[in-house]
């Protein structure tokens, strides 16, 4: 399970990094959201991910996983959702004004 998650996180970061380096700003935004998914997944595993165990203590006690990372990751997901929505809106406004999403053509600033 841990190996599978490690590979998944790696793939998410890898594809995310690839997309962030594209010229098309829309792909950059998709890449950013993939990277934040990778980070969220890593945060969940930091509490000791154990497949089918619940993050609460049942009526008879029993095994459970640490609930804190799950609470953290919920916050992080909401934040990354908000950020993605903001970025898409920002890009849409930029597209409406300049007529392109190609970062090489949007060059008002010297960098």
């Amino acid at each position: 399970m841990t190996t599978l998650l490690a590979v998944t996180i790696g793939v998410l970061f890898g594809t995310g990094a690839f997309l962030v380096l594209r010229r098309n700003a829309l792909k950059v935004i998709i890449g950013l959201s993939l990277i934040s998914h990778g980070a969220n997944l890593l945060l969940v595993t930091s509490g000791g991910f154990a497949g089918n165990r619940p993050p609460i203590i049942g009526p008879g006690g029993g095994v459970y996983v640490d609930p804190l990372p799950q609470a953290l990751v919920l916050t992080a997901i909401v934040i990354s959702f908000g950020m993605t929505a903001f970025m898409v809106t920002l890009l849409y406004r930029l597209y409406r004004r300049t007529g392109t999403v190609d970062m090489d053509q949007i060059r008002g600033l010297k960098g």
Binding site: V20, S36, L43, L68, L72, L90, R97, I106, L109
Partner: protein, 499 residues
């Protein structure tokens, strides 16, 4: 008065919510917003007074005791930073009333401004790493919206760059948080401090420390991560530039100082070389970048990069003298750079151009603004009577004492370069013969705001001794993480005795 710690966070939040619900009433929004800004400042003053007389104040949020719940901790450093930023924010807010066009103020300007300040105060006051992440996101998303506020092409482009690099930084922040939680099983700073102190095998902790430094380095415009700053700080509306350069980049420096003095104390030698090297490069690129600018706001933005290099250098050296001079530097730069941006905004408003080549001779037409800009130039450049000089002098002295002769020489040379490009800018804008073109009228409120900050710098210079005494007390507290930890856990035991 434990709840006092929450006031600097709750007051801006309440102000933001009220200004949202005031609809399109301009007068109502301005009044509520200014009252909120004033109340934040007053609560920050009160908080600092309480911390000064009664020691570190700790507030447990929602009665979930740490290390599980979230705590707010106000020690001398955090309450001092809150006071500094709320003062700059109040001045910038007065300036905004004259600067931002009415339609913008009727819409979302005031709520966003107060949310930004709430995020900044929260980042200073929190005692929990994940909560720090949340406050960072609050301040970042408000600042994205404010940089893009007027919706010009260049502002949208700058925001896109600024947001992209900071979103990647946020993901890295989460990685570091996950790594820290996975290794130590806690995110409370005081608890982590205790656990790491007892640790035998460091494991991946030095790497995690370095990840945190990188994340905070993005906010503090440390060398490989500073590329967004000149665009974002120069494109933002002027009062927001003042907040970004004066206050927001200090949040990054503060966070580095906080985690290295409370949490990762044993691993400081592991990253010291990195911080010193990156700080040196930051100083150089900032100074070189500023030399090449013809746009006055871009020049000031690059100058911020260079000055952050000095602040990080002090953090890296880490001796008591270096830290005191760094704190003095932070105060100096927050006031002076905010003031330079505000006065540059006045000049831009009056002439209608940002190119320094098209200005000139404004000293005769606007003597007060010229005087204020000169005070800022001298403060940042480190000209003797002003306390910016003592900050730079003590920093260089501490570098020599700690055996970093090369860095001291570099800092001294770059101090001269700083003085040069700032005086060149002042000369170009105010002193040389101008074309004598007609100026647009500038609201009194804007001119007055610039002068208030210039006055504060002069007051700081007159009361240099009490200021240095205070900063030495801050530094003494930073050197003993035990004080912080004890204050937090005393609160916990008292809390559990009550339940």
């Amino acid at each position: 008065m434990k709840a006092l710690v929450t006031f600097p966070i709750l007051i801006p939040l309440a102000t933001a919510i009220i200004t949202i619900f005031l609809g399109r009433s301009l007068r109502g929004k301005v009044v509520v917003s200014l009252v909120g800004g004033g109340a934040s400042f007053a609560s920050a003053l009160l908080l600092l007074r309480t911390v000064w007389s009664q020691g570190t104040v700790v507030h447990v949020m929602g009665s979930w005791s740490p290390p599980f719940g979230i705590i707010l901790v106000a020690d001398l450093l955090s309450s001092g930073m809150v006071l500094l930023s709320s003062g700059v924010a109040l001045v910038a807010l007065c300036y905004s009333v004259g600067y931002v066009e009415e339609e913008g103020q009727r819409l979302a300007y005031h709520p966003l401004f107060h949310l930004l300040m709430m995020g900044i105060y929260g980042a200073f006051l929190t005692g929990d790493i994940f909560n720090l992440f949340v406050f960072f996101e609050i301040l970042l998303i408000s600042s994205y919206a404010l940089v893009a506020f007027a919706g010009e092409d260049y502002q949208l482009e700058a925001t896109l760059k600024y947001a992209t690099i900071n979103l990647i930084a946020s993901a890295v922040f989460l990685l570091a948080v996950g790594g820290l939680y996975g290794t130590m099983g806690s995110l409370n700073m005081a608890d982590l401090s205790l656990k790491i102190g007892q640790l035998q095998d460091p494991g991946p902790l030095p790497t995690i420390f370095l990840l945190f430094i990188a994340v905070f380095g993005v906010k503090a415009s440390m060398f490989p991560f500073y590329f967004w700053l000149p665009d974002a700080h120069s494109s933002a509306p002027t009062p927001i530039s003042a907040i970004l350069s004066g206050v927001l980049i200090k949040v990054g420096a503060y966070s580095i100082l906080r985690i290295s003095s409370v949490i990762f104390v044993p691993f400081r030698p592991d990253v010291q070389g990195w911080i010193l090297a990156l700080a040196a490069i930051t100083m150089v690129v900032g100074a070189c970048g500023a030399l090449a600018q013809s746009d006055v706001k871009r020049l000031l933005a690059y100058s911020s990069v260079g000055q952050m290099g000095y602040i990080l250098l002090g953090v890296g050296i880490g001796t008591p003298l270096a830290l005191v001079s760094t704190l003095l530097f932070i105060v100096n730069h927050a006031l002076a750079k905010a003031m330079l941006f505000l006065t540059a905004g006045i000049v831009i408003e009056a002439t209608g151009t940002r190119e320094m080549g098209n200005m000139g001779g404004l000293g005769r037409q606007m003597p007060w603004t010229a005087g204020a800009f000169l005070v800022g130039t001298m403060a940042i450049g480190g000209v003797p009577p002003l306390f910016g000089f003592f900050a730079k002098f003590l920093l260089i002295k501490s570098a020599i004492e700690a055996g970093y002769g090369f860095l001291a020489a570099l800092a001294a040379v770059l101090a001269i370069v700083t003085l040069w490009y700032l005086f060149a800018a002042w000369q170009q804008v105010f002193w040389r013969e101008g074309s004598g073109h007609a100026l647009h009228a500038v609201p009194r409120l804007m001119k007055g705001s610039g002068l208030v900050l210039a006055g504060l710098i002069l007051i700081g210079t007159i009361f240099l001794n009490p200021l240095v005494d205070f900063l030495s007390a801050v530094e003494a507290q930073l050197r003993q993480p035990g004080v912080y930890v004890t204050a937090v856990f005393r609160e916990v035991t008292r809390g559990s005795a009550l339940h």
